[in-house]
């Protein structure tokens, strides 16, 4: 279980459409803004790397101090970004894959406008459960 983990789904327009703190650590006051900054800054690197590989899982692409950013890019260029401090590559990969499935289910909802915020509470609980399971 990672002590610090923050998971954000970023739409292709660089808009965060889902955010959750999957970590177990007691949150510092400015933690969420720090996480956002780090993940936001990592978008540049995702941009570079996404086109160099055919794999969706880009592994750990960026780091800030002891925190690592792992990214998974879907075919629609929606980016799943995980900020974590543990090195559990397989777990993260499985996490991303399962979240991708959940995300596809969200996309299949005809009432969901792609690129809009994911507000489904079901999705939220599922993602949190996955985070507990894999991270």
């Amino acid at each position: 279980m990672a002590t610090t983990a923050c998971f954000i789904i970023v739409s292709r327009n660089d808009i965060p459409i889902y955010e959750t703190d999957a970590g177990s650590a007691t949150k510092r006051e400015d933690a969420s803004q720090m996480h956002q900054f780090i993940l936001h800054a990592a978008l540049d690197i995702v941009q570079d790397l996404a086109w160099t590989t055919s794999a969706m899982y880009l592994k750990a692409i960026d780091r800030f101090n002891d925190m690592v950013v792992s990214v998974y890019v879907t075919a629609g260029h929606t980016r799943f970004m995980l900020l974590h401090d543990s090195r559990n590559d397989d777990g993260i990969k499985s996490f991303f894959q399962e979240v991708h499935e959940l995300y596809i289910k969200i996309l299949l909802n005809p009432l969901y406008l792609p690129g809009s915020r994911i507000t489904s509470s079901h999705f939220d609980t599922k993602v949190r459960a996955l985070a507990r399971k894999y991270l």
Partner: protein
């Protein structure tokens, strides 16, 4: 690209140059200070040679020409490792100075990011970075392991004024004062010495100086002595164009005239001195040293044999501990010598030689684990590779290696690592590897905040410059840097970085990022006292609902603090706190439709319209009146709404607090604009404001606010708790005619910030509050009103209408109408949506005492028909007019008809007395919601009285469904004169308690007797008294007064409504009966048994059928028992009668058939079915005669068991009678019984056929024209 031309190359050629140590006496310094310069400062402009053109020959035999050369001059006291604290102070000073200079454009808007990208490199990063970096590099100068900072030569300077100058020269070289480098053996103390005598021409002619010079030459040798005459300018001060000293003097003030006593001769003299020093002494000295050292190194280290030897020798020292400093190598050690050789070669530009030596020594250091020396050599190797412009990879590898090695050393290597990193970065920048450079910047961030702030800022610019630009990283590093600047109180730097960050993050949906950036830049501006700019940034973070409560509090508190410090009220367009829910905007205004209460407007327009349909003049008429009139007058505004001067327009809009902390909002009011009718241009301008930019709009709004003379506004103060939403009701009351435009809303947040919100900007999203007439207009017009001159307006309410009532509750109410204006209104009409609930009374009912008025009076007058038009519209008397202070009171009857939530609407229509006004009529709409609770549930079941004709048993079930009320049942009445009702048993016996407590059920039987006479007489009476009926009191006699009068208003009126509700007309009541049950609630706290005099419940049950579907009823009038002695006569004849009653209005022909014993019925069925299909007419000739009919019809299957002995119908087996309407007849019947037993006399059938009297209009009403009825059980016991 030539590496020398690159920034790094230039930097290296400036920084890695021979050092000259300067020893001077105080008098020398004194002479120089006359020019506001120190001695070194005076010389330094001349130490930099761009084209010295000296031939140099180092290791190889081929000389080359050295072009660029520089000497670095230092006083002996400065040649030491700078104190870390001092260095820090120095750095801080540099930063602060840079910040001061940067003041220029702090308050302007942040640049657009696309503009930033287009601007050139030099524009992007501030120029003071170079200075800072240079200072940073200098913090690690004169370290022991690096030979290039070791002085190459020593210049001793003595003034001609000094006494015994020769001794002074000797004294200057006193070892005590010399830098530790020379003393502790890190470098060779035998360095090149040079002697300079300074003569100040102001002190007199130079003869004395010349004398001393000769003396010097004798003492120190001819070559190493010089005379320098300065301050030759005698009187006038020399203004130097393009002052050469300016770049070397950091803290120079413009008032100082640098070098004011130095004339051109002095210039040349200084220049010559330095030139000679360089080319004739230092360079040859270095050349020679390089050659000597090279020979030594070659002898000891080069070649296979030496290498083996070296390796073997070093292996012996393997177990030496890690040595972090270079002190283990003295100047005489081979390693130091190689290093000196390398550095000298580097400084002389012989990079090949330098590189080979560095390589040689680096392995030695590595094996010796002298990491600092190793790192230093690696660093130099990297730089040498760079200068050679070959093998980039090698260069970078060396730099990284050096950097990491320095970092490994811990704190002692930190600064070296920084310098190394800076060089590395420059190297990377030269190759356009900005991304890598940025990451190196990030790596050289130390714990020290200020230092790392600068590094991070530089890193951010690197990200910006990289290809493609990495804007996200740029922003992030700017914020990191800004945060550190802010912590170090470098506010101006913080603002600069944050400002750049704002341009990156402008409009970002990443909420936390946006909040952080805006909050911090706002705070910074606040610190600097630039409150205006600060506030604009703070405004961005106010609606931070995603933040934690503590953060929200912090944001709001800081915001208010800055606002307070600014000391003025800010007017902010689109203030985000509170959030205005524009979709909740609801406008209530009154044109010809007026509303009695605010709740009335929430009723759908269509409901009102359908109610008003019957009352208001039809559309064509209306068009010829005011509507067309107006469209002629104001064709432009025909689509705008109409309102009346002096009458308020109500706007409801929702304010929502997005935060978790409470906020207080005061002075919420509308922004309106009222222009005279002719002033069209003005309103046009305001219409188009939404298209103009913010400032323009803001200005416009402010102008609009200032003009409030022609209308009055309401102000509301609210306090919103965390997350709370509040619907604010605002009103504007126009005072004069014209065009009123509601522009927006303004409010005051926490008493210091005024927020504006323009409705115009969000027209698209707006819902139109009132649908019908405005559906086709452009939405903007909803907020535009045409104000017409004031009109009379009726206000009305119903006094004491309960909000909650039990079903059946009956109450007398008064409608109160008031007209405030002095103009009268006339032609009042009224309609209610639920006549079952609300009935309009008669004027004389007004003062009735309730409920006494319900009681039966002795003198019953026929009720006058109220003036109710066909469709339920009540017309008030025509002479009635309401005006001034007079109240119009009108009685109403209220009865809660059915349980449930009822929305009750009342519309009152009235016309203006004054026909010249803009409108001819108006309507007053009243709306009430009431909740009706279930009280008594009454059901009736009527069955024929078994033994009597025209009498019925009424089974009444009452359940008290209230929660707590006890209800006393008072009276049951039937409606209509042809029914009489009476109790089956005395009420005391069956219902002693006389009241029903909550939940109690009760059944009771009554006898209902039909007393219909002929139809002709009845109709005449019933038309007069349709509701006269009979009553039965359910309370003991005498306990209460007169029974309630069910035949009079209001009970009768309500009863009519109930009947209408059931959808059957009045006349159709032949076989049904209507009941009215009157009850009263008992007050719980009062003594039991006393009913509350003011509450009467009436329960109406309509069309309770009298059970028998056929119009024919009969009674078999047989004896119950009969004694017969069968021994005497074997059979017994029993005679009895059957009475038949025709309750219909038609003549009936009835055939009574007796059926014999059941045993044969089955056999006969087949036979009879053939010719007995349907019922056939029988001739009417034999009226009132019994006639036997041959075929026997077996329609009934016997229910009797076979064991029961049969009896025989011994009279006529079929009897036919004709019955007039509402008449009875009797048929004699006889049976024969052969044995004692119990006999069921039910095996007969009555076939009846109704024949309409002869009036055709009644054909449709006939329910049944013919039918058959089977006999009902009637048991006869024959006893022996």
């Amino acid at each position: 690209m030539d590496p020398v031309k690159t920034p790094l190359g230039k930097m290296l050629l400036e920084e890695i140059t021979p050092v000259v140590m300067v020893l001077r006496t105080p008098l020398v310094e004194e002479s120089c200070l006359k020019n506001s310069l120190s001695f070194i400062e005076m010389l330094s402009p001349f130490c930099d040679f761009n084209n010295i053109d000296v031939p140099v020959r180092t290791s190889s035999d081929q000389p080359y020409r050295l072009q660029k050369f520089k000497l670095r001059l230092f006083y002996e006291s400065d040649i030491k490792q700078p104190n870390i604290m001092v260095a820090k102070e120095r750095l801080k000073q540099v930063i602060t100075e840079a910040g001061e200079k940067d003041r220029s454009d702090l308050s302007t808007d942040p640049p657009d990011i696309s503009n930033v990208l287009e601007s050139s490199k030099s524009e992007i990063s501030p120029s003071w970075f170079e200075i800072f970096n240079k200072e940073l590099v200098r913090t690690v100068s004169f370290s022991e392991h690096e030979a290039f900072d070791h002085p190459v030569a020593c210049v001793s300077v003595v003034s001609s004024k000094d006494e015994q100058p020769i001794n002074k020269f000797v004294d200057l070289f006193n070892t005590n004062k010399l830098p530790s480098l020379l003393n502790d053996g890190a470098m060779d103390p035998k360095i090149l010495k040079h002697y300079v005598l300074v003569h100040d021409n102001k002190d007199g002619p130079s003869e004395k100086a010349t004398k001393i010079l000769t003396e010097m030459k004798n003492t120190f040798g001819f070559n190493g002595c010089h005379l320098l005459c300065i301050n030759s300018s005698q009187d006038e001060q020399i203004e130097h164009q393009d002052n050469p000293w300016a770049p070397y003097k950091f803290d120079s003030l413009p008032s100082q005239h640098l070098g004011r006593y130095l004339n051109i001769d002095d210039f040349n003299e200084i220049k010559d001195l330095i030139q000679e020093l360089s080319s004739k002494h230092i360079i040859p000295y270095m050349e020679q040293k390089v050659r000597v050292l090279n020979q030594q190194v070659s002898a000891t280290r080069k070649g296979f044999r030496n290498q083996i030897k070296n390796l073997w020798w070093r292996k012996g020292k393997e177990d030496t501990p890690d040595s972090s400093n270079g002190s283990m190598y003295t100047y005489s050690s081979v390693e130091s010598q190689i290093r000196v050789l390398g550095d000298y070669a580097f400084m002389l530009g012989d990079y090949e030689l330098a590189l080979s030596n560095y390589r040689l020594v680096s392995t030695d250091y590595k094996i010796d684990k002298a990491w600092k020396c190793y790192a230093g050599v690696q660093e130099m190797m990297g730089l040498t590779y760079f200068m050679l412009d070959q093998s980039r990879k090698e260069a970078e590898y060396c730099m990284e290696n050096a950097f990491n090695t320095y970092l490994k050393l811990g704190s002692s290597g930190r600064q070296n690592a920084t310098r190394c990193g800076l060089w590395w970065i420059e190297m990377l920048k030269t190759k356009d590897q900005f991304k890598e450079a940025a990451s190196v910047y990030f790596r050289i961030c130390s714990e020290e905040l200020l230092h790392s702030a600068v590094m991070l800022e530089q890193a951010s610019y690197c990200y910006l410059l990289s290809q493609p630009p990495m804007l996200h990283k740029y922003g992030f590093h700017l914020v990191l840097s800004g945060d550190r600047y802010k912590k170090c109180d470098q506010i101006k730097h913080a603002i600069r970085t944050y400002r750049n960050a704002v341009s990156v993050y402008k409009g970002t949906p990443w909420s936390y990022i946006k909040d952080h950036v805006h909050f911090h830049i706002g705070q910074c501006y606040g610190f600097l006292g630039m409150y205006d700019v600060g506030v604009t940034h703070m405004l961005e973070v106010l609606a931070c609902s995603h933040q934690s409560k503590a953060t929200q509090e912090l944001f709001l508190r800081d915001f208010l603090q800055i606002v307070q410090k600014a000391g003025k009220t800010f007017e902010v367009l689109r203030l985000q706190l509170p959030v205005i829910n524009i979709s909740s905007l609801k406008i209530d205004f009154e044109d010809h439709r007026t509303y009695a209460s605010p709740g009335s407007t929430s009723v759908k327009e269509s409901v009102w319209c359908s109610l008003e349909e019957e009352m208001i003049p039809s559309l064509p008429t209306a068009r010829t009146n005011w509507l067309e009139l107006q469209s002629k007058l104001l064709p432009k505004y025909k689509e705008s709404n109409i309102c009346v001067a002096g009458e308020a327009i109500k706007i409801a809009i929702e304010f929502k607090n997005p935060l978790e902390i409470p906020i207080s909002i005061s002075s919420v009011s509308l922004i309106c604009e009222l222009s005279a009718t002719s002033d069209e241009t003005n309103s046009d301008v305001s219409c188009s404001t939404s298209g103009i930019g913010n400032n323009e709009e803001h200005k416009n709004l402010r102008e609009i606010i200032s003009d409030t003379s022609s209308f009055s506004l309401s102000e509301v103060n609210i306090s919103l708790g965390g997350g709370e939403a509040y619907l604010v009701q605002l009103t504007v009351t126009p005072k004069v005619e014209g065009i009123l435009n509601i522009v927006g809303v303004r409010w005051n947040l926490s008493g210091s910030v005024v927020g504006f919100y323009s409705f115009g900007a969000n027209y698209g999203k707006k819902k139109i509050a009132k649908g019908r007439r405005k559906a086709k207009q452009s939405p903007g017009n909803c907020l535009k009103f045409m104000v017409i001159k004031s009109l009379p307006k009726l206000e009305g309410f119903i006094r004491a209408l309960p909000e909650k009532a039990y079903a059946g509750h009956l109450q007398h109410l008064v409608l109160e109408l008031r007209n405030q204006s002095e103009f009268s209104v006339k032609n009042l009409k009224m309609k209610t949506s639920h006549p079952r609930f609300l009935n309009i009374g008669k004027q004389e009912d007004l003062d009735l005492e309730f409920p006494a008025c319900l009681e039966k009076k002795t003198n019953v007058s026929p009720p006058a028909n109220p003036k109710i038009a066909s469709n339920g519209v009540f017309l008030f008397p025509e002479d009635l007019s309401v005006q001034g202070e007079n109240l119009l009171l009108w009685p109403l009857w209220f009865r809660a008809a059915v349980p449930g939530n009822i929305s009750l609407q009342v519309v009152i229509y009235y016309e203006m007395g004054d026909l010249s006004s803009g409108m001819r009529y108006r309507t007053l709409r009243m709306h009430y919601n009431l909740q009706v609770l279930p009280s008594l549930d009454v059901s009736f079941k009527i069955s024929p009285y078994p033994s009597r004709l025209q009498e019925f048993l009424v089974h009444m079930d009452i359940v008290n469904k209230t929660d707590s009320e006890s209800i006393q049942v008072n009276q049951l009445s039937t409606i209509g004169s042809h029914w009489e009702i009476s109790l089956l048993q005395p009420i005391d016996a069956i219902f002693p308690s006389q009241s029903l407590i909550a939940g109690q059920a009760f059944s009771c039987f009554f006898v209902l007797k039909s007393c219909r006479k002929s139809s002709s007489t009845e109709e005449s009476t019933s038309s007069l008294f349709p509701h006269i009926g009979s009553n039965v009191s359910l309370v003991p006699d005498g306990s209460k007064g007169a029974p309630f009068d069910t035949s009079n208003s209001p009970l009768a009126d309500f009863h009519d409504c109930e009947r209408l509700q059931h959808g059957i007309s009045n006349q159709e009541a032949e076989n049904s009966v209507d009941f009215i049950l009157i009850s009263r609630p008992l007050k719980n706290n009062a003594e039991p048994g006393v009913s509350d005099a003011h509450h009467v419940f009436s329960h109406h049950a309509c069309h309770c059928s009298t059970a028998s579907t056929s119009p024919i009823s009969w009674v078999v009038d047989a004896p119950r028992t009969r004694h017969h002695d069968f021994s005497t006569t074997s059979f017994c004849e029993i005679n009895f009668r059957m009475t038949i009653y025709n309750s219909s209005n038609a003549r009936a022909s009835i055939v009574m058939k007796t059926l014999d014993s059941t045993s044969i019925s089955d056999q006969l069925r087949d036979e009879t079915s053939g010719n007995q299909v349907g019922w056939h007419d029988v001739s009417l000739a034999k009226d009132n005669k019994m006639e036997s009919d041959a075929p026997r019809n077996h329609v009934r299957k016997s229910l009797l068991p076979e064991s029961v002995s049969a009896f025989i119908w011994s009279g006529s087996s079929s009897t036919r009678v004709q019955l007039k309407p509402l008449s009875t007849t009797e048929i004699p019947l006889q049976i024969c019984v052969f044995s004692p037993g119990i006999y069921d006399l039910s095996n007969y059938a009555l076939n009846w056929n109704l024949q309409p009297v002869d009036d055709h209009e009644k054909v449709g009403e006939r329910i049944e024209s013919s039918g058959t009825s089977l006999g009902y059980p009637c048991y006869l016991t024959v006893l022996p």
